[in-house]
Amino acid sequence: MSPVLLPDLPWEALLILLPLTGAAAGALWPPAARAIGLLTTAGGLLLLAGLGTAVADAQTLRHAVGGWGAPLGIELRADALSLVFLTATALVGLGVAVYADSYFERSQARGFWPLWLFLLGALNALFLSADLFNLYVTLELMGLAAVALTAFSGGRAALSGAMRYLLATLLGSLVYLLGVALLYHATGTLDFSLLTQRLEAGPAARTALGLMGAGLALKTALFPFHFWLPPAHSSAPAPVSALLSALVVKASFYILVRLWLELFAPLSGLEGAGTGEVLGWLGMAAILWGSWQALRQPRVKLLVAYSTVAQIGYLFLAFPLLTAAGLPDPAAWRAVLWLVLAHALAKAAMFLAAGNLLRFGGHDRIPDLDCVAQRLPLTVAAFALAGISIAGLPPTGGFIGKWLLLEAALLQGRWDLVAVMLLGGLLAAGYVFKVVGHFFTPAAAGHAARPVPAAMEWTALTLAILALLLGLAPAWLLPWLDLAVGPGPAEAVP
């Protein structure tokens, strides 16, 4: 791509070390936590740019931690697939960090920054790891940081939501770890590329797939494992809800995608297709159940949380879509990566906007929203734009992602998937416009309003606009996604 604009640095190592060091420094010296938090989050974007140019040159970067190399040591790996998730993390992370700076009171914020930097470091480490056990460690770091952030406001609902979340996420990690142990016993390695060469179909591989799939589905809140998500995501502080819905559930999904595309789907004789079908059914159920529940919710944050349950369902629709050779369909996976980016940006914007409504009126009951369109126009615009992307209406990122997925399903004649996607889109439009409608009407009882800082309104709007821009820039993004999941059908590459 570009000649050497940036020096040749170990970007992947820096992306992990910088936030974790910031977290430790913030814990040591709380008065500096805010400055450290904001600078580190912004610095991550620069490091990501460096990593992006390096990956554009070399396609796949490997970094042997400790200098040992697999199988003895741990390897980091950066490629286009990890870059997609890292980009979502950096963009949403920066937006949420700026928002959180105004959201939390000064004394409370000191506790927030180290926890956020831990979460950021864990996410970066997870997306860069090429080692099954190291992935488990990053999952633990991420899960604990996410639980701590969920409970951060300290209220009764937040505590019980966080406790439920903690138990669910621990169970998911342990079940995943059991699968890792089986694979290590069978192959003598934890490294992804060595496992690809050594793993053979058999009871061990099949059980490992079942265990790791179930554990990661629980952590991703795939229906019917979504029971922990709505209470945790709706009771957390708004910036935390945004991080949880936009990024944290995507992390376990990322591991599942890696395992599926690289290890299990190509394994002949594993009946991988059967597992793919099951994941697809659960995805369809998630879309219908999540959308229906979202439509029925009386509060904005609960509605947005159930919308996450539904949108996660879309990500699982690519599992049953296979090429003629029985391998995963690159076109479908490209669509899913697009949806990951679009959902991360749009859902973060929606939760931040919901946080503004809550700050403004002191509540988020949908029928009692009182003419907020006149008083918080930026927030209303952010919610509406993000909602349009979530519902998959043009010209947003969500539209392109769902269009690509629909196309892949149509090409394979999977009318069941097509029908569920369309129905889910209708329901999503329904719950988004249910809220937007109440923005313009006066409520029965007016109430006192608190001012909302401009930074909180603008960050929500910026993320929503990014979700919109994603729909206008397909030519720029598609080559990256092709790199990530293998070349798509020739005519689709611009």
């Binding site: 814990a27 604990l144 009871p203």
Partner: protein
């Protein structure tokens, strides 16, 4: 294998399952915790039988000892907030447990384990081949601090994160304990020096024999817990930055080593072979201090009193 050993193994296996079941099913939380501690001790014996003395030490010190102490401390706080009669029955969850599903999952798992090769395709040969360049002669320490030192860096950070998480929750005013009785007082005078010495030994021995930072830190942390039980408190002028430094220095020192190596143009956490032994000892010493401080502070629960409520 002799008949005696088979008998011991069978007793251990049955005892573990029975204790686990009793700990989960018993309605009284206090009894449940005591059963859990007994389970941990038996588990440590099982690790000894599996010829994994490092894991056995860690299980006994952390799994049974400190986790048990933390659970008891949590129960004491719970009893003050919500006395036993006012809480939901803990057996409720078990009545609703989909027992059939669990049995099926267990059976499936058993079949998969039976299908495994008797000899695992492990990495023992590679570890042995590179042990000379690792800076230590205990293969477990070589894996934890060198070959897979990056995992350990993240694990040490998990402990710091756990403490920050506990601190970020509403802090309860520290409770006033009664003065220690003569028995505890005497016990403490005898035990504290022994525990400190044992921790130092475990830390030093880790380089060539079972031991290391986690076990040493747990033993040192247990000394701290005993001191706290006896009413000892940190001087107010030490509860601010000095305490935070003790807690952060383990992960922080590890991170600084990583930065220093990265800045000299090496990959992440690649030690120069000549310095590996010294660096590992440095990292483990700092980690021992932080692990001990963190575990003792977690036992106390809330932030030490003089800390501004930030």
């Amino acid at each position: 294998m002799s008949l005696l050993q088979t008998g011991i193994d069978a007793l251990l296996a049955l005892g573990l399952v029975w204790l686990a079941w009793r700990a989960l099913a018993c309605p009284d939380l206090f009894r449940g915790i005591v059963l859990f501690i007994a389970f941990g001790l038996l588990m440590a014996l099982a690790w000894v039988r599996l010829e994994a003395p490092d894991v056995a030490l860690a299980e006994a010190a952390i799994g049974a000892g400190l986790t048990g102490a933390l659970l008891l401390a949590a129960l004491a706080r719970l009893n003050r907030i919500a006395p036993a009669g006012t809480r939901a029955d803990t057996r409720e969850a078990w009545r609703n447990a989909p027992a059939l599903l669990l049995v099926l999952a267990g059976a499936g798992l058993g079949l998969a384990v039976l299908s495994l090769l008797p000899e695992p395709a492990g990495l023992q040969a590679q570890v042995a081949a590179e042990l000379g360049r690792s800076g230590v002669s205990n293969p477990v320490t070589a894996v934890l601090l060198n070959f897979r030192g990056y995992d350990t860096l993240l694990e040490v950070l998990v402990l710091l994160l756990a403490l920050l998480a506990a601190w970020s929750l509403e802090a309860e005013p520290p409770r006033r304990e009664a003065a220690p009785g003569p028995v505890l007082d005497l016990l403490l005078r005898l035990l504290l020096p022994v525990l400190v010495l044992a921790a130092a030994y475990l830390l030093w021995a880790g380089a060539h024999a079972p031991g290391g930072a986690f076990q040493a830190g747990a033993v040192l942390g247990a000394a701290g817990v005993l001191a706290l039980l006896a009413g000892w408190r940190l001087q107010p002028h030490l509860t601010g930055l000095p305490l935070r430094l003790a807690i952060v220095i383990g992960p922080g020192g590890f991170l600084l080593v990583a930065w220093a190596l990265l800045l000299t143009g090496r990959p992440l956490l690649e030690y120069p072979p000549a310095l590996a032994g010294a660096l590992i000892l440095l990292i483990e010493t700092l980690a021992t201090l932080s692990i001990a401080a963190t575990l003792a502070v977690l036992f106390q629960g809330s932030r030490p009193a003089a800390e501004p409520p930030a």
